[in-house]
């Protein structure tokens, strides 16, 4: 009804609807300006840079086009192992975060008193700055004076009281995974807990009445109930692990012998230590392609499952 009236009016300037639209767009301007300046343009530039010979020397003389040479270089420099290590790191961190976070969330969900207080206390390690996390865990894993070597050797789990963690090719990855898990698990925990608490309690009670035990309740009622939250949180944690830089850089610097060099560390080192900005950008481009593919697949798969 109202529509007809509006259309019948002679057009005087912009319609109300479009005034609304324009206002809406205007409000978005600041946000998108910042995105453009800080994210969009630099990323576009980096993508372009990956096809040029961009080293310090060339900045002065002008960078030259070298098509896919940078990409060949990064594969020679071990891109596949960096990718592999990134996957191991991500699976390790997100996996542990999921398991530990889920356990704690389930415990806290059991109607215990002081649940909110406990939750806040668990969240403390999430607020500790990453650099502090790196220093703290480096100190705990210190081969000479660290607490972990001391405790583990006293209780007989390890033989050498000065066992190297951060400098051991096999164990360095463990140390960074533990440090990151310590910092990130509270986030996972809080999200899962919130999800669990939003599940309709009637469903849980119905399951109990039907004689379901704890396991069945978990897998058939609770898990599907928190599916979306869980999915989104896992994706966030995966992306965060892929991007993890501060903690790894400050604990192991990507070593020893490059055993903890993930794609993030590799990009930084290529660009700023070896000063080959083009090669660093190349790693980034492949990374973004992989991420994009991964997210697209996830979206399709999750849409499929939504219809079940």
């Amino acid at each position: 009804m109202t529509k007809a009236v509006i259309n019948a009016r002679p057009h005087k300037g912009i319609s109300e609807k479009w005034k609304d639209h324009l206002f809406g767009y205007a409000l978005l301007l600041p946000t998108f300006s910042v995105f453009s300046l800080v994210i969009l343009f630099p990323i576009a530039k980096s993508i372009v840079m990956s096809f040029y010979n961009y080293t310090y020397a060339s900045i002065k003389k002008g960078p030259t086009w070298n098509s896919f040479e940078n990409y060949v270089t990064i594969f020679e420099e071990g891109f596949l192992s960096q990718l592999f290590r990134t996957l191991i790191f991500t699976v390790g961190t997100v996996g542990l975060e999921l398991v530990i976070g889920m356990c704690i969330a389930l415990l806290l969900n059991m109607n215990i008193r002081g649940r909110n207080a406990f939750r806040s206390l668990f969240l403390m390690s999430w607020t500790i700055p990453s650099i502090v996390t790196a220093l703290l865990w480096s100190w705990l894993f210190n081969a000479q004076y660290g607490l972990i070597d001391f405790v583990l050797s006293r209780i007989g789990l390890i033989a050498d009281p000065n066992m190297q963690w951060l400098q051991s090719p096999s164990l360095a990855m463990v140390t960074v995974i533990i440090a990151v898990v310590w910092r990130q698990t509270p986030y996972m925990l809080v999200m899962i807990l919130a999800g669990l608490q939003s599940i309709n309690q009637d469903l849980v009670e119905a399951a109990a009445i039907d004689g379901a035990n704890a396991f069945q309740t978990f897998f058939r009622v609770k898990l599907p109930g928190i599916k979306t939250v869980l999915g989104n949180t896992i994706i966030t944690c995966v992306m965060s692990s892929f991007q993890q830089f501060t903690i790894i850089m400050n604990m192991t610097q990507g070593g020893p012998m490059k055993m903890t060099t993930t794609m993030s560390i590799a990009t930084y080192k290529l660009a700023f230590t070896s000063r080959n900005l083009g090669a660093g950008a190349a790693v980034g481009v492949i990374w973004m392609l992989l991420l994009g593919t991964g997210v697209t697949i996830y979206n399709h798969v999750s849409k499929r499952f939504d219809y079940e």
Binding site: L28, M124, P129, I131, L136, W139, Y145, M191, Q243
Partner: protein, 279 residues
Amino acid sequence: MINRRSPFKTLLIYLLVILLLALFLFPIYWMFIGSLKDNSVLMRLPPQLYPTFSTLESYKAVFSNAKYMKYILNSFIVASMTVVIDLVFSVFAGYSLSRFHYPGRKAIMTITLSAQVFPTVVIIISLYEFFSKFKLMNTYHGLSLADVAMSLPLSVWMLKSFCDSVPRSLDEAAKVDGCGRFMTMMRIVLPLLKPGMLAVGIYAFLMSWDDYMLGLVIMTKTPLKTLPVGISETFLGEFGFDYAGMMTISVVASLPVLLLFLVFQKYMVAGLTGGAVKE
């Protein structure tokens, strides 16, 4: 349900929770007691598990060191600016996405969320050039803008969710009363967004305080460096063996955010989870 659970089971649950909590909080405890000891105690085996107030020397050293004080001040300034800018921008954007259904709205929401997908480390490769051109290198507002860009996606999302929960009828009533669009947003809806704004503000502060990579690239002059960069330079370089100093500066770097969080944690959790769960 509750009266069907045996007290034994309840006790077990409490014990497990407390055990896990102890494991998670132990490193923080370790950091605090380490900061109160000096190196001769720390570099000795077996390590002392109990706190001894051996010395406040490390604290005196940190607070009398003008360099560290400057780093802390810089971090505060940048974080505060980030909070203000982030709040303004995300309130605008969140309100816009919540109230107005313009063409491309869905796409814009997707783009906003995907902005955090781009690897920061790839951004910084070109950021140096862009910021130099726009004279944003080594400036507080430059680093703040960069931090804001990183916090905006989640901030916008959080505020949009909070906005969604404010009834539209208020907007319409205001419109009928002759309130302009801008005024409607500022006078009517904004005051009701306070919990959301608090959550976004704290989140932005936490992200900015924690930032290492952007500060590393943008602030190259020593008097402007932020705390994480300063700590990394000092304790992963020259003074890599000053463990007492390391623990002390760790405490000093963690306290502001810890305190902020403990006071406002309700809002933080609401903000984080409000958006995700409603879906």
